[in-house]
Amino acid sequence: MKHRRHVLPLAVVATLALPPAGAMAQGSSRHLPAQGQHITLTELDWNPTGPDSTFFNEVNKAFEQQHPGVTVQRTAISFNADVSTIRLRAASPSAPCIIGANEGWSGVGALAKDNLLVPLNKYAQQYHWFTRYPTAVLAQQMVSANGKELGTGTLYEMATVLAGPQSIYYNKQLLSQLHLAVPSTLAQLEHDMAVAKAHGIVPMELGLQDQVQITVPLYQVLDAVTPAKQLSNFVYGIGKPTVASIGMTKAAGVIQTWAKDGYFPKDELGISSSQAQNNFFAGQGLFFPAWPGYSGTAAQDARTGVFALDGPNGRAEDQDNSNQPLGITRSCKYVSLAAQYLNYVSGPAAGRVAVHLGLVPQISVQGSSAGGDLLFRSELGLANRVAASNGYVPYFDLSTLTMLTTLERAGQSLVAGRMTPQAFTAALQSDYSAFHGS
């Protein structure tokens, strides 16, 4: 009984996963499909819902139209499932040809170390990827030959066009009511928040029950006190850095002071980030730190803009990376076709699809209009500023496998005043030392 029930789904999966017999016979060829040949290109990404999912469906369809005889068979799993299963999926003999692994040690670092990905330098040259994308963005997909360093060596994954800087949303109405300007320095931001507080408005909507939102204000402050180059050197382990050496204690001190001064909502540990988002779009708070892509109703979006704090030298410097890097697995039979796919999904045509769907692209997109959504235009503007100054900063938590968890937990203690900024830095440092054995 049990088996009969499973014959059907299994059979369906099997037929979908295997290319037709004809294609299998010629499958060992690493060349592009010949006339009349049929190829199934399997692709795995972590965008199961929303406009990001639509983006991949549309791009895949367009790619198929450009390449007759090719079918892109897509699997979408959740980000968490991707992070926890990606190594095993890539190691499987039936691994998808094109696979999305996260930046950092849990993804591309681990896969490159285990030699599960095809090096992409040859194709990067062929398709001029290093001129299309800033090196600082592609560096996040690079791993050294010995597998011990990130940010250098061989390119193992290509960024897709989906991207977007970390940002702080602001309520234009409240800002103008309070006669304030959009801040770009830490001092200006703190001034705006002090004024809001004095007027009984929540300065910054923050919800830490689900932990992750703490990274945004922390990294924004970090960007403002430490030059991008130094932050990026830390993540890539250049010059034996320490957490204290990149100004973490100072940034943590700023966050803790904000918490003490009541710049975050009361009970910030008991509300979720989505509750904070809700409160912000409902017009309650002045600022809301998050990643791009949040939106409310059209009316709410119209009164919302985004900014990011500049670096200490006045340049636009911000956390930004590909939202979905993709690599080619060792077991892939159509490597050059897969490389063509990577070229397509990181190129201008895909960029136009992204913009059309309201997704911030990594490259500037010609011949497309951002439409009437002011918030989206504001997001594009920020992305362009960061691009113009080449101020890309890798996320601090890419520095070790467990840094995000460590930081999120310590962040709650920091905000609750149960941990000093020094102890916070020490907690992150012990995570870093444990991982890098220093």
């Binding site: 009984m1 499973h6 979408a76 959740s78 499932a81 299963t85 095993l88 509750q275 809700n278 409902a282």
Partner: protein, 271 residues
Amino acid sequence: MLSRFERMTNYAVLTVCAVTVLVPVVLLVFLAMGPTYGGGIVEFSSLHLGNFVRAWNAGDLGTGLLNSAIYSVCTVMATALLAIPAGYAFGTMRMRGGQVLFVVLLVGMMVPVTAVIVPMYYDFLSWHLLGNYGGLVAANTALSVSFGVFWMRSFFRTVPSPVLESATVDGATRWGTLWRVCVPMGRPAVTVMGLLVFMWTWNGYLLPLVLVPSSAMQPGALMLGNFQQRYGTEYSLMAAGAVILALPIVVGYVVFQRRLIAGILSGAVKG
């Protein structure tokens, strides 16, 4: 027998307990039908069913419920088909080493899911059980059969000897006796087992979280979990999703509660 005062006190205390259980559940249903709740005061001004439609669409709960049903029905079937004959053998037949085998099976009931989930995950991955429905069904079945065998054995031990002895001793006839005589007699016991296994599978969270990586095959409980992460602020939407997920089980519980509770109560007498 009881004094009036005693009786009244009993009712009062029990009513307080019932209210503690019911108020949160009833509030959930109201929230699911109400439009205005942002973490503050609940307004019951305009009740409607629109949230259910929205939650159904936004959370892909239809797929989730269907998946839950597939997992639960398959697990119940597999457990019943495996446990009934085994319980019959353990309960009515003489078997050298049978007690040892039975105790080994019983240890399965004391194994925490967490003790096996990690190796299970890696095994199932290499056995290709993670990309389809088979993995979660196999895991749930393996974790349910110990209980199933134990439960059915207890029932078959109560079947009077004459019923069994009226059948001849050869195995084929015993097989017939099992399905034609004993199982129909034991419908209540089989029902209770089925309901419990169904409920465990339907409500499970950690097993599918680990064993179902593909979002298209996630059971409803997991989808609601994702849903509450994504739409955590839309309380009424979340409440509607929770009601949709709970409804089949609660309706089943209300319909079968007499039989379920009676079955458990009569079974427990043995302790």
